[in-house]
Protein backbone atom coordinates (compact mmCIF):
# COMPACT_ATOMS: atom_id res chain seq x y z
CA UNK A 1 0.00 0.00 0.00
CA UNK A 2 1.30 3.42 -0.95
CA UNK A 3 0.03 6.82 0.14
CA UNK A 4 0.64 9.98 -1.87
CA UNK A 5 1.57 12.66 0.65
CA UNK A 6 0.53 16.10 -0.72
CA UNK A 7 4.00 17.41 0.21
CA UNK A 8 6.43 14.49 -0.21
CA UNK A 9 4.81 12.52 -3.03
CA UNK A 10 4.11 8.80 -3.23
CA UNK A 11 5.56 6.88 -0.30
CA UNK A 12 5.47 3.45 1.22
CA UNK A 13 2.85 2.83 3.90
CA UNK A 14 5.63 2.10 6.45
CA UNK A 15 6.44 5.83 6.60
CA UNK A 16 2.98 6.58 7.98
CA UNK A 17 1.35 6.12 11.36
CA UNK A 18 -2.37 5.33 11.49
CA UNK A 19 -4.30 7.34 14.05
CA UNK A 20 -7.99 6.61 13.54
CA UNK A 21 -11.22 7.92 12.05
CA UNK A 22 -11.37 11.55 10.97
CA UNK A 23 -14.07 11.97 13.65
CA UNK A 24 -11.16 13.27 15.72
CA UNK A 25 -11.30 16.46 13.64
CA UNK A 26 -14.82 17.18 14.91
CA UNK A 27 -14.22 17.78 18.59
CA UNK A 28 -17.36 18.86 20.47
CA UNK A 29 -17.38 22.47 21.65
CA UNK A 30 -17.15 23.57 25.24
CA UNK A 31 -20.27 22.62 27.21
CA UNK A 32 -21.38 19.99 24.69
CA UNK A 33 -23.71 17.25 25.93
CA UNK A 34 -22.15 14.08 27.37
CA UNK A 35 -23.66 12.19 24.44
CA UNK A 36 -21.58 14.28 22.03
CA UNK A 37 -18.40 13.43 23.96
CA UNK A 38 -19.37 9.77 24.12
CA UNK A 39 -19.82 9.79 20.36
CA UNK A 40 -16.58 11.70 19.75
CA UNK A 41 -14.49 9.42 21.93
CA UNK A 42 -16.05 5.99 21.47
CA UNK A 43 -18.54 5.57 18.64
CA UNK A 44 -17.11 4.67 15.24
CA UNK A 45 -18.62 3.54 11.99
CA UNK A 46 -17.23 0.37 10.47
CA UNK A 47 -18.11 0.85 6.80
CA UNK A 48 -17.74 -1.64 3.99
CA UNK A 49 -16.70 1.00 1.47
CA UNK A 50 -15.41 4.53 1.70
CA UNK A 51 -13.89 5.63 4.97
CA UNK A 52 -11.86 8.66 5.99
CA UNK A 53 -9.10 8.46 8.54
CA UNK A 54 -6.13 10.32 9.92
CA UNK A 55 -2.57 9.35 9.19
CA UNK A 56 0.66 10.96 10.33
CA UNK A 57 3.62 11.08 7.94
CA UNK A 58 5.98 10.40 10.80
CA UNK A 59 9.01 9.29 8.77
CA UNK A 60 8.54 12.11 6.28
CA UNK A 61 7.32 15.69 6.53
CA UNK A 62 5.49 15.17 9.87
CA UNK A 63 2.20 16.39 8.39
CA UNK A 64 -1.17 15.04 9.52
CA UNK A 65 -3.22 13.73 6.62
CA UNK A 66 -6.86 12.89 5.92
CA UNK A 67 -6.91 9.78 3.76
CA UNK A 68 -10.10 8.74 2.00
CA UNK A 69 -9.97 5.09 1.07
CA UNK A 70 -12.10 2.07 0.35
CA UNK A 71 -12.07 -0.78 2.85
CA UNK A 72 -13.30 -3.10 0.10
CA UNK A 73 -10.83 -2.45 -2.73
CA UNK A 74 -8.04 -0.71 -0.76
CA UNK A 75 -8.21 2.08 -3.33
CA UNK A 76 -7.01 5.42 -1.97
CA UNK A 77 -9.29 8.14 -3.31
CA UNK A 78 -7.69 11.27 -1.89
CA UNK A 79 -5.06 12.48 0.54
CA UNK A 80 -5.26 15.98 2.01
CA UNK A 81 -3.36 17.92 4.65
CA UNK A 82 -5.38 18.27 7.86
CA UNK A 83 -4.19 21.88 8.01
CA UNK A 84 -5.88 22.58 4.64
CA UNK A 85 -9.08 20.79 5.62
CA UNK A 86 -9.29 22.66 8.93
CA UNK A 87 -8.54 26.07 7.44
CA UNK A 88 -11.27 25.51 4.86
CA UNK A 89 -13.85 25.64 7.65
CA UNK A 90 -16.55 23.10 8.31
Amino acid sequence: MRITCPLCGERDRREFYYYGADDYLRRPGEGAAPEAWDSYLHLRDNPAGITRDLWHHEMGCSAWLVVERSTITHEIRSVKLVSDVQEGGK
Binding site: L7, C8, D12, R14, E15, G60, C61, S62
Partner: protein, 179 residues
Protein backbone atom coordinates in the same frame (compact mmCIF):
# COMPACT_ATOMS: atom_id res chain seq x y z
CA UNK B 1 37.05 23.84 34.90
CA UNK B 2 37.29 20.87 32.55
CA UNK B 3 38.66 21.43 29.08
CA UNK B 4 35.98 20.10 26.74
CA UNK B 5 36.64 19.14 23.15
CA UNK B 6 33.90 19.23 20.53
CA UNK B 7 33.85 15.98 18.56
CA UNK B 8 31.77 14.90 15.61
CA UNK B 9 29.20 12.18 16.35
CA UNK B 10 30.97 10.28 13.55
CA UNK B 11 34.37 10.39 15.27
CA UNK B 12 36.06 7.00 14.89
CA UNK B 13 33.25 5.58 12.73
CA UNK B 14 34.22 6.97 9.31
CA UNK B 15 35.84 7.13 6.78
CA UNK B 16 34.74 3.75 5.59
CA UNK B 17 35.14 2.23 2.14
CA UNK B 18 33.96 -0.88 0.34
CA UNK B 19 34.78 -1.50 -3.32
CA UNK B 20 34.14 1.78 -5.16
CA UNK B 21 32.03 3.30 -2.36
CA UNK B 22 33.16 5.63 0.41
CA UNK B 23 31.33 6.92 3.47
CA UNK B 24 32.72 9.99 5.21
CA UNK B 25 31.85 12.83 7.58
CA UNK B 26 30.25 15.63 5.54
CA UNK B 27 31.50 18.11 8.12
CA UNK B 28 28.36 20.24 8.17
CA UNK B 29 28.99 23.02 10.66
CA UNK B 30 25.96 25.08 11.54
CA UNK B 31 22.36 23.86 11.24
CA UNK B 32 19.40 26.01 12.27
CA UNK B 33 15.81 24.82 12.01
CA UNK B 34 13.64 27.58 10.52
CA UNK B 35 9.86 27.37 10.97
CA UNK B 36 8.13 30.51 9.69
CA UNK B 37 5.42 31.87 11.99
CA UNK B 38 1.87 31.70 10.58
CA UNK B 39 1.51 34.01 7.59
CA UNK B 40 5.21 34.93 7.60
CA UNK B 41 6.46 32.65 4.82
CA UNK B 42 6.91 35.54 2.39
CA UNK B 43 8.66 37.71 4.97
CA UNK B 44 11.02 34.81 5.74
CA UNK B 45 11.78 34.34 2.05
CA UNK B 46 12.45 38.08 1.65
CA UNK B 47 14.77 38.14 4.67
CA UNK B 48 16.64 35.05 3.41
CA UNK B 49 17.01 36.67 0.00
CA UNK B 50 18.38 39.88 1.44
CA UNK B 51 20.79 38.27 3.90
CA UNK B 52 21.98 35.18 2.02
CA UNK B 53 20.54 35.20 -1.52
CA UNK B 54 18.26 32.29 -0.57
CA UNK B 55 14.48 31.79 -0.28
CA UNK B 56 12.24 29.47 1.73
CA UNK B 57 12.38 26.21 -0.26
CA UNK B 58 9.47 24.36 -1.85
CA UNK B 59 8.86 20.80 -0.59
CA UNK B 60 11.62 18.31 -1.50
CA UNK B 61 14.07 21.01 -2.64
CA UNK B 62 17.33 22.64 -1.56
CA UNK B 63 18.42 26.19 -2.43
CA UNK B 64 22.16 26.95 -2.35
CA UNK B 65 24.19 30.10 -2.65
CA UNK B 66 27.93 29.76 -2.06
CA UNK B 67 28.44 28.15 1.35
CA UNK B 68 24.89 28.87 2.49
CA UNK B 69 22.09 26.37 1.93
CA UNK B 70 18.50 25.97 2.97
CA UNK B 71 17.00 22.49 2.93
CA UNK B 72 13.27 21.69 3.11
CA UNK B 73 12.73 19.26 5.99
CA UNK B 74 9.01 19.10 6.58
CA UNK B 75 5.71 20.95 6.59
CA UNK B 76 6.55 24.58 7.34
CA UNK B 77 10.14 23.77 8.26
CA UNK B 78 13.59 24.02 6.66
CA UNK B 79 17.20 23.76 7.82
CA UNK B 80 19.43 26.75 7.22
CA UNK B 81 22.97 25.40 6.87
CA UNK B 82 26.23 27.29 7.04
CA UNK B 83 24.58 30.70 7.43
CA UNK B 84 23.63 33.10 10.21
CA UNK B 85 19.90 32.83 11.08
CA UNK B 86 19.83 36.17 12.96
CA UNK B 87 18.01 38.08 10.14
CA UNK B 88 15.01 35.74 10.65
CA UNK B 89 14.53 36.57 14.33
CA UNK B 90 10.93 37.50 15.10
CA UNK B 91 9.39 36.05 11.92
CA UNK B 92 10.31 32.38 12.32
CA UNK B 93 10.95 29.91 15.12
CA UNK B 94 14.72 29.34 15.06
CA UNK B 95 16.37 26.38 16.76
CA UNK B 96 20.07 25.62 16.71
CA UNK B 97 20.36 21.93 15.78
CA UNK B 98 24.06 21.90 14.87
CA UNK B 99 24.87 19.25 17.49
CA UNK B 100 21.71 17.24 16.87
CA UNK B 101 22.65 15.60 13.59
CA UNK B 102 25.28 13.29 12.20
CA UNK B 103 25.84 14.13 8.53
CA UNK B 104 27.35 11.47 6.30
CA UNK B 105 28.56 11.72 2.74
CA UNK B 106 28.22 8.69 0.48
CA UNK B 107 30.21 8.63 -2.76
CA UNK B 108 30.78 6.11 -5.50
CA UNK B 109 29.49 5.15 -8.95
CA UNK B 110 25.71 4.94 -8.90
CA UNK B 111 25.72 5.30 -5.12
CA UNK B 112 21.91 5.12 -5.18
CA UNK B 113 22.37 1.35 -5.53
CA UNK B 114 23.63 1.36 -1.94
CA UNK B 115 20.80 3.48 -0.58
CA UNK B 116 18.25 1.40 -2.50
CA UNK B 117 18.93 -1.32 0.10
CA UNK B 118 17.73 0.90 2.92
CA UNK B 119 15.46 3.57 1.43
CA UNK B 120 12.10 2.97 -0.27
CA UNK B 121 12.30 6.10 -2.44
CA UNK B 122 13.69 6.31 -5.99
CA UNK B 123 17.00 8.21 -5.67
CA UNK B 124 18.32 7.74 -9.21
CA UNK B 125 19.70 10.95 -10.78
CA UNK B 126 16.94 11.10 -13.43
CA UNK B 127 14.33 11.70 -10.73
CA UNK B 128 16.53 12.84 -7.83
CA UNK B 129 19.00 15.34 -9.23
CA UNK B 130 20.92 18.32 -7.88
CA UNK B 131 18.82 20.39 -5.49
CA UNK B 132 16.60 17.48 -4.45
CA UNK B 133 15.99 16.33 -0.88
CA UNK B 134 13.75 13.73 0.76
CA UNK B 135 12.69 13.16 4.30
CA UNK B 136 12.26 9.45 4.56
CA UNK B 137 13.16 6.31 6.46
CA UNK B 138 16.71 4.93 6.25
CA UNK B 139 16.11 1.42 7.55
CA UNK B 140 14.13 2.28 10.68
CA UNK B 141 15.74 5.69 11.18
CA UNK B 142 14.33 9.07 10.34
CA UNK B 143 16.62 10.77 7.86
CA UNK B 144 17.10 13.69 5.51
CA UNK B 145 18.78 12.68 2.24
CA UNK B 146 20.20 15.21 -0.25
CA UNK B 147 21.68 14.78 -3.70
CA UNK B 148 25.30 15.97 -3.61
CA UNK B 149 27.00 15.65 -7.00
CA UNK B 150 27.29 11.97 -7.90
CA UNK B 151 26.71 11.06 -4.25
CA UNK B 152 24.50 11.89 -1.28
CA UNK B 153 24.49 13.69 2.02
CA UNK B 154 22.61 11.78 4.69
CA UNK B 155 21.40 13.42 7.91
CA UNK B 156 20.43 11.19 10.83
CA UNK B 157 19.91 12.02 14.49
CA UNK B 158 23.22 12.19 16.34
CA UNK B 159 22.21 9.24 18.54
CA UNK B 160 21.75 7.12 15.39
CA UNK B 161 25.29 7.73 14.03
CA UNK B 162 26.62 4.28 14.89
CA UNK B 163 23.56 2.44 13.55
CA UNK B 164 23.52 4.51 10.34
CA UNK B 165 27.22 3.84 9.64
CA UNK B 166 26.71 0.14 10.36
CA UNK B 167 23.66 -0.16 8.09
CA UNK B 168 25.04 1.88 5.21
CA UNK B 169 28.41 0.13 5.53
CA UNK B 170 26.67 -3.23 5.30
CA UNK B 171 24.80 -2.12 2.17
CA UNK B 172 28.05 -0.77 0.64
CA UNK B 173 29.79 -4.12 1.16
CA UNK B 174 26.81 -6.05 -0.22
CA UNK B 175 26.59 -3.94 -3.38
CA UNK B 176 30.39 -3.93 -3.84
CA UNK B 177 30.42 -7.74 -3.59
CA UNK B 178 28.08 -7.95 -6.58
CA UNK B 179 30.59 -5.96 -8.65
Amino acid sequence: MAELLATSPLEGLVPLSAGPFTLSDAGVARITSVAPFAGKEKAVSAALKKAHGLAFPAPNTVISKGEARIVWTGRGQAFLIGADPAPLAGIAALTDQSDGWAVLRLDGPEAERVLARKVAVDLRPAVFGEGAVVRTALGHMMSVILRAGAGFEIFVFRSMAHTAVHEIGEAMRAVAARG
